[in-house]
């Protein structure tokens, strides 16, 4: 720990006295806060210490110690390292005060923690299940919750390895009861009271007009062409104007985190590809950082450069695709999207050459990368980033940016002010388009980003049009980084030590975060020294950026809801996990 944090520790100690206590466990950091004092401490941290950005809320089930710990990662929106605060709660009747009044961005994350971990957040405005349905028994991330056909706590399962039997336990026992319902729950007679509550909340809105009009509740989704997957927006409409909007998600939920906790550390690497399947390299990056922090290793120079090259190529391919699909959401019939996809294909060609796969790259390893560049690929990357992509980005810019209809559809629509953006924990392009120049590559540099010359793209209106523009800017900045990285790429090894199948990860916790194309992608890992992570949490930007969706959309037209969603740029694989 640096001197600065030590000083801060003293200040916090003297400021809060008994309410906080430094986390003294080996491999842990941050402060344990008393449950009753949590809101008070958080408010003070936000107002007096400048920790105004709540990045991640999650909980860890310490079954052996019989407690559940809720973990908050706070950051300053002006940059700098994290401040971690933790609250202990008993495993029975777990409850913790809600931080939504202090950080509105905690809303969806606290609902997730309630759903998966069973932590009741007192004072949360709308504490319902978010990823699971109402007929789900228990809270699956608790360590004593076991799925149907449970085999073992950790992979590789003995049934399949080392003996090589490829059978699943459910094949041997096909007629067993494999669904549990909560007590008193009858799926036959069940009416989705969650829906009823949802709709009841949607119904009556006073628009303050003498003209009596009926409001219509419309479900945009889950099957809808412009929700980019199975996402649902329940909107109350007055004519075409949105009065209320609630996001409903979880249709693609597969409990990524539970599976991640069963996997070994390395098995999770290809699994992270499946989060945001458009930018798997960035997903790898964040996870590798988190685990390397725990292991205390650093990749060699060449690997660092390769990582940066791949991450920035991912950003370009993601943004160019996002812009294309955003135009599609505006109703441009696929033309911009297909031109964007053409460029994306060239980037995917490079991914295929280096990793063997176009989308599910699985390229990063702890302490390096999986393979070196094959012959000729560096030349391909160079011609792409020096010649072709800058030209194509300019071309897109020329044809799209000043289009009358795009401006009319984008300017002043879906506005998010800087204060709101920070409060709602928006990240990435959404945050920066609102005039907050917060980019983790600069604010809290990781890997070798401090060596490159680039600007943090920022726009100031916070509307749909600026979120489109900022992606254009970011692609240009990424190209700058890429040009430098390709120029400076050193020779040398690509892996620290020998490549290992089973890595040894010491006990402790770590939070690795990268500036993914969609925003801050964080991995919170807790290890107890065994082969599998004890806790594996993903701070998914697509998910948390949706917290601000209602604020952006209310007052706009129904067509704008689609544009706003497109401008946030979500991927459901990451939102629902």
């Amino acid at each position: 720990m640096s001197e600065q944090t030590l000083v801060a520790e003293d200040i916090i100690k003297t400021r809060f006295g008994e309410a906080v206590e430094a986390d003294g466990r080996k491999g842990y950091e941050g402060y344990l806060v008393k449950r009753e004092k949590l809101v008070e401490v958080a408010t003070a941290l936000r107002d007096e210490f400048g920790y105004d950005y709540l990045s991640s809320v999650t909980a860890v089930d310490y079954l052996p110690e019989d407690k559940i710990e809720v973990v908050y990662h706070l950051f300053k929106s002006t940059g700098g390292p994290s401040l971690v605060i933790k609250v202990d709660a008993p495993r029975e009747n777990t409850s913790v005060p809600s931080l939504v009044p202090v950080y509105p961005g905690a809303e969806l994350q606290e609902r997730e923690a309630w759903d998966l971990m069973g932590v009741k957040f007192e004072g949360h405005p709308d504490l319902r299940r978010i990823l699971m349905w109402e007929g789900f028994a228990g809270h699956p991330l608790r360590k004593d919750w076991r799925e149907a056909y449970f085999e073992e706590e950790g992979k590789p399962f003995k049934s399949r390895w080392p003996d090589g039997h490829v059978y699943r336990i459910e094949d041997k026992n096909p007629f067993a009861k494999n669904v549990d319902y909560p007590a008193g729950f009858d799926p036959e007679s069940w009416v989705p009271e969650g829906e009823a509550a949802l709709y009841a909340g949607m119904g009556a809105v006073d628009v303050g007009s003498n003209l009596r009009t009926d409001h219509v509740v419309v479900n945009l989704g889950p099957q809808h062409p412009s929700t980019h997957g199975v996402f649902r927006m329940v909107v109350t409409l007055d004519g075409e104007t949105i009065l209320k909007l609630k996001p409903v998600m979880g249709y693609l939920h597969r409990n990524h985190e539970k599976i991640g906790e069963r996997n070994t550390f390395l098995q999770n690497m290809p699994f992270t590809d499946r989060l945001d399947y458009l930018s798997s390299m960035s997903n790898n990056f964040g996870y590798a950082l988190a685990v390397e922090k725990l292991m205390g290793i650093k990749p060699p120079e060449r690997a660092e450069y390769l990582r940066v090259i791949m991450a920035e190529l991912t950003r370009i391919s993601n943004h160019i695709f996002a812009i294309g699909m955003f135009l599609n959401d505006l109703g441009a019939y696929f033309t911009p999207a297909l031109y964007a996809i053409q460029e994306r294909e060239l980037i995917l060609d490079i991914f295929e050459a280096v990793s063997g796969s176009r989308m599910m790259c699985n390229y990063f390893r702890f302490g390096g990368v999986a393979r070196d560049l094959p012959e000729g690929v560096l030349e391909k990357i160079r011609s792409l980033v020096v010649d072709r992509l800058p030209r194509k980005v300019d071309e897109l810019d020329l044809y799209l940016t000043n289009n009358e209809i795009i401006r009319a559809r984008g300017e002043g629509v879906g506005v998010l002010t800087p204060e709101q953006a920070i409060a709602y924990s928006a990240a990435g392009p959404v945050l920066r388009a609102s005039g907050v120049p917060y980019d983790i590559r600069r604010a809290d540099p990781y890997s070798i980003y401090d060596r490159f010359e680039f600007d943090v793209a920022v726009r100031y209106h916070g509307d749909v049009y600026d979120r489109y523009l900022i992606r254009m800017d970011e692609m240009r900045q990424s190209l700058r980084i890429l040009q430098q990285a390709v120029r400076d790429l050193p020779e040398g090894p690509i892996q620290e030590g020998k490549p290992q199948y089973q890595v040894r990860v010491p006990a402790g916790e770590s939070y690795g975060r990268v500036e993914g194309p969609k925003g801050e992608l964080g991995y919170y890992i807790v290890s107890n020294g065994k082969a599998n992570p004890w806790r594996y949490h993903v701070r998914a930007p697509s998910f948390i950026n949706l917290t601000a969706l209602e604020t952006m959309a209310v007052g706009d037209k129904i067509a704008d809801a689609v544009a706003i969603l497109g401008s946030i740029d979500i991927v459901l694989g990451e939102t629902d996990r």
Binding site: H224, A408, G412, K557, V562
Partner: protein, 374 residues
């Protein structure tokens, strides 16, 4: 009315409908191919040589698809609505001549079913009917998306019909007739496009809205309303909507060609009457390409802005255009035919002024939206 005339009408109607149905089928193919080329794709190329049998494959698919009727739909109207949409598209071209007359079996046969003296009124009247089909389809489906699509459609059509009607008045004034045949004949010397440039632009814009083509495809906005009014339709019922939409595209292109581009007129058409349909085909082909091009290029306008555009820009501009045309004709009558050219001059000037004002207005509107929202 003798039997031969009756027979001639029946045969000509049948031929027209068959031509329309075939050209509809190949219009879909044309659109898919042209869109594909614009979008760096190849387009359909599997069915038949070069994909030329694709429309047949589509038709077979649509005929054999299951037709679903929602349980809570208003069944009778649900079935009638597609027919009500298709019918106007089929009959609207009855008053447009496709060429001058030819001699067949010793009988003077005019190319075109009939040329009534209020042809323009007939077109306007028939074109308005098709909105019923769309609104009723949206309402009877008992689906919120469909309902929104239907409402949008009716509002849009009513708004844009005004500008459409006003833009037709220009050619009527110049030709001093409401018969399409006479309007075409009046363009013997010069196309009305050159005398009525603004009228032609307004007509084109309004018809794009009228046939629900991009960027005015509000009623079926895929990204917002999934498919708008025909979201609950499948199989042949859906195909009827589809046919109606594409036939309307052909119809408005033919009408625009007749009103502004001299219809079937072209070099040597008086000597060789069979050249007429060919010239018309070329003109329609180009106009259809423009429609496809617009669809491939432009995003959709938002609904409220679409209404504002129709009422606040297009309607006043069309009104001004009518006024200026009338002034130009009086000037020409008083001072000589050369003054007819004052119409395009004045109207283009008016167009530029309105364009300038609108540009200003759009800019300030969005600036205000940025600074005052929340």
């Amino acid at each position: 009315m003798d039997l031969a005339l009756l027979l001639e009408w029946i045969i000509k109607s049948l031929v027209l409908i068959l031509i329309l149905l075939t050209s509809f089928a190949y219009l879909t193919f044309y659109e898919r191919k042209a869109l594909a080329r614009i979008q760096v794709r190849i387009g359909p190329n599997r069915a038949g040589p070069g994909g030329w049998l694709q429309p047949v494959a589509d038709a077979v698919k649509l005929i054999f698809k299951e037709e679903l009727t929602p349980a809570k739909a208003y069944k009778v109207i649900f079935v009638i609505a597609p027919m009500l949409t298709l019918l106007p598209a089929l009959i609207i071209l009855a008053v447009v001549p496709f060429g001058s007359s030819i001699t067949l079996f010793g009988r003077q046969v005019s190319l075109g079913i009939t040329d009534i003296n209020v042809g323009v009124l007939y077109i306007m009247a028939v074109a308005s009917i098709s909105v019923y089909g769309i609104v009723l389809a949206g309402w009877s489906s008992n689906n919120k998306y469909a309902m929104l699509g239907g409402i949008r459609s009716s509002a849009q059509m009513i708004s844009y019909e005004l500008a459409l009607g006003l833009s037709i008045i220009g050619p009527i004034l110049l030709a001093e007739s409401m018969s399409i045949g006479e309007i075409i004949d009046a363009q013997r010397g010069i196309w009305f496009l050159f005398l009525q440039p603004v009228g032609a632009i307004i007509f084109w814009t309004a018809t794009l809205a009228e046939v629900n083509r991009s960027p005015f495809d509000m009623p079926e906005a895929e990204q917002e309303l999934t498919a708008g009014y025909h979201v609950e339709y499948s199989g042949m019922k859906f195909a009827l909507f589809f046919i109606a939409e594409y036939m309307k595209m052909i119809a408005v292109s033919v009408i625009l060609a007749a009103l502004f581009l001299g219809g079937y007129r072209g070099p040597f058409v008086d000597q060789v009457p069979l050249l007429g349909p060919l010239y018309l085909f070329v003109k329609v082909f180009v106009l259809l390409f423009i429609m496809i091009w617009v669809r491939a290029t432009l995003p959709r306008i938002r609904y409220d802005r679409l209404m504002a555009f129709g009422w606040k820009l297009l309607f006043p501009l069309a009104l001004t255009n009518v006024f200026l045309t009338a002034v130009g004709i009086i000037l020409a009558d008083t001072y000589g035919p050369a003054f007819l050219w004052s119409i395009p001059l004045m109207s283009i000037l008016a167009f530029l002024v309105v364009n300038y004002l609108a540009r200003d207005r759009i800019a300030t509107a969005s600036a205000q939206a940025v600074s005052f929202r929340r």
